[in-house]
Assembly symmetry: C2
Homo-oligomer: 229 residues x 2
């Protein structure tokens, strides 16, 4: 059985390697920073996790999860997000309060507990932050990335990045009220001028296709793609 610390390393490695979809590996310093420990500390743990066949790691090289390591990491993420959902939906915690407590709850060891919690919550697909909850079988669906311009009317999505990094554009994004990871609903698309009407945090605004094609989003309503290499 894994220690809380080992679980945290695997989860951190999963998160870092999911961020950059292309290369599924992370450096020692990067991992140490993510976990708030010194590189020397992370280095020790990397050797230990390699011994346990949970990661691929070679001296001076980048690290990546093995199939078993990935499975374990996904299980931790599943627990984290189910607990966040419980705290948010049943105990009246707010969006920003759930994470800290879920960091503790995700390490409770009881498969019966997590299965029953899943059932109690009615098998939710997303946590309060809109992140996908992995299934009991360890499948973690990753919603497709696209631009806001390509999003369908009526769908719910969230901004996960921008294509234009100019100050002008970023200031405009701010002004429109868009924030990273905040839920967005696409209300309509005007046939006359192609303006897209969106709702963010209760506020409605209209944006141009030019603007929208520089906003990268993930859609919660579109077909989900499994990601379980």
């Amino acid at each position: 059985m894994l220690s809380t610390t080992e679980e945290n390393y695997l989860k951190a490695l999963l998160q870092l390697t999911l961020e950059q979809a292309d290369k599924a590996e992370a450096g020692t310093n990067e991992l140490a920073a993510q976990l708030g420990v010194k590189p020397a500390t992370a280095n020790d743990m990397l050797k230990k996790l390699r011994e346990k066949q949970l990661i691929n790691y070679e001296k001076y090289g980048k690290s990546s999860l093995t199939t078993e390591g990935r499975k374990q990491a996904i299980e931790v993420v599943r627990k984290h997000r189910l607990w966040e959902t419980f705290l948010y939906e049943h105990l009246g915690f707010s969006w920003d309060e759930v994470h800290e407590v879920a960091e503790q709850l995700e390490h409770i060891q009881s498969s019966k507990l997590i299965d029953r919690l899943d059932q109690f919550l009615n098998y939710p697909s997303f946590d309060p932050h809109g992140d996908v909850i992995p299934s009991a079988s360890g499948e973690m669906k990753i919603p497709a990335k696209k631009t806001l311009n390509e999003e369908e009317v009526g769908h719910h999505c969230k901004m996960v990045g921008v294509k234009d990094n100019s100050a002008t554009f970023l200031q405009y994004v701010d002004k429109v009220g868009l924030r990273m990871n905040q839920p967005i609903k696409v209300l309509s698309r005007q046939p006359y001028d192609e303006l897209i009407e969106i709702e963010v945090n209760g506020q409605k605004s209209s944006v141009s296709p030019r603007f929208a094609e520089n906003i990268v989003i993930v859609c919660n309503d579109c077909e989900l793609q499994k990601n379980n290499s």
Copy 2:
């Protein structure tokens, strides 16, 4: 903030000192046995807890909780029993499955979490084993002990001890179906012969006053007495 281990020592000391209501102290070996560690290990921890002013302890002496130590211990018991109640009532865990998981959950650090859980459960007074749940303010009510013969009709209680330790009596207790800590309901008292009709685990039986006065019980329905020295 206390470590999980420190919390476990305080809780164990509370439990040991509640058992023998007269002398509120426990020996090093006794405590070590309760926690499943060696006396040498417990000895180290006793010194540490004394430094933190959580227990009273002197070399070769018995240990007892300070006011602060007792407060902390009661908080852990409160968390344990609220979680047990949650698992039992909302996640369909059985009587005997809840304890193991609650041993982990009782160490989650979040006062908001436990307050909200209490509210969610509608401020329960007893856990699934019939044990009293301490209040948010740290009051731990201890139900009055009395004999089954003194118990009122209609009340719910549980056996916590016997006054007669003869084999004959104990075998009779077994035969009637009484088990330690198992819920008992007093159904009636016949005016004619004073026989007491009780229900245990769905089974009804009648016992004599002679028998009943040798069964020590605690009543869940009687006035509770605070125990917060």
